[in-house]
Symmetry: C2
Subunit: 114 residues, 2 copies
DNA sequence: TCAATAGTTCCGAATTTCTGAACTATGGAA
DNA sequence: TTCCATAGTTCAGAAATTCGGAACTATTGA
């Protein structure tokens, strides 16, 4: 398995962030991750309620989120811990992530409006 | 030619906005439009400096921007006037467009950082 | 060493994007 | 009215991307 790639903060591109978050499934995953305290595993986030995302699609979603710079993944034993890079990101693109999650009505603790 | 479709404000979806603005060419077009006073025509926005966008691609870019709710297009004689819907949009998704343009370093009047 | 679990990679099918060529709509000139 | 020029749209095939099942890899525990 090739090592996971994470872009350096200064290499993160707005187009990659927007592309990654232009898919509601990825937004749902990211929002859960932003809410979760422990660092979510892939399989813990596969269930969207109305549909269960296939493993390979899920793996790809995480790859897109990771390579865009939105999350950091690291292996912990048999599973993968994923966490958002939102503090860093807010430094590079102030207000961006919050505005996006607000638009989706997915800010942690916020009632869904869509 | 079929009539141009514009979504009602309440039908505008964040995923469509993010998708439309995940393409740097479309961002460049949108940013020019946000800066232009008159309402830009397609051909006036085709020249990106490093490349001239083909007519059909340009037409498609405008379609994506229009159907996502970012711009409004209306025929004025032989040409098309395009204008942003940013005031409306800011009402629906507060701060979103500004945060995105800031991330791209493309806010009107702002020096490019990327 | 073997089995179980978590996730990645591969690869073919389906979908989407891109763009040259043909077409449509409008306005002005003859 | 007819013809031409201009601005943009639509069509269609090629290229690129996405999706997801099946096979594979890595790690842990028995």
């Amino acid at each position: 398995m090739r090592p996971l790639f994470h872009p350096a903060l200064e290499d993160i591109k707005p187009e990659a962030i927007l592309y990654a978050l232009s898919d509601p499934e990825r937004v749902a995953i990211y929002a859960k991750l932003a809410g979760a305290s422990g660092g979510g595993t892939c399989s813990a986030l596969a269930d969207l309620g109305d549909r269960v995302i296939p493993k390979s699609s899920l793996s790809n979603h995480f790859k897109v989120l990771r390579e865009s710079g939105l999350i950091r993944s690291e292996r912990q034993g048999v599973e993968m811990r994923n966490q958002t890079r939102c503090t860093e990101l807010d430094e590079r693109f102030p207000g961006l992530i919050r505005a996006i999650l607000t638009a989706y009505g997915q800010l942690p603790g916020q009632p869904k409006t869509d």
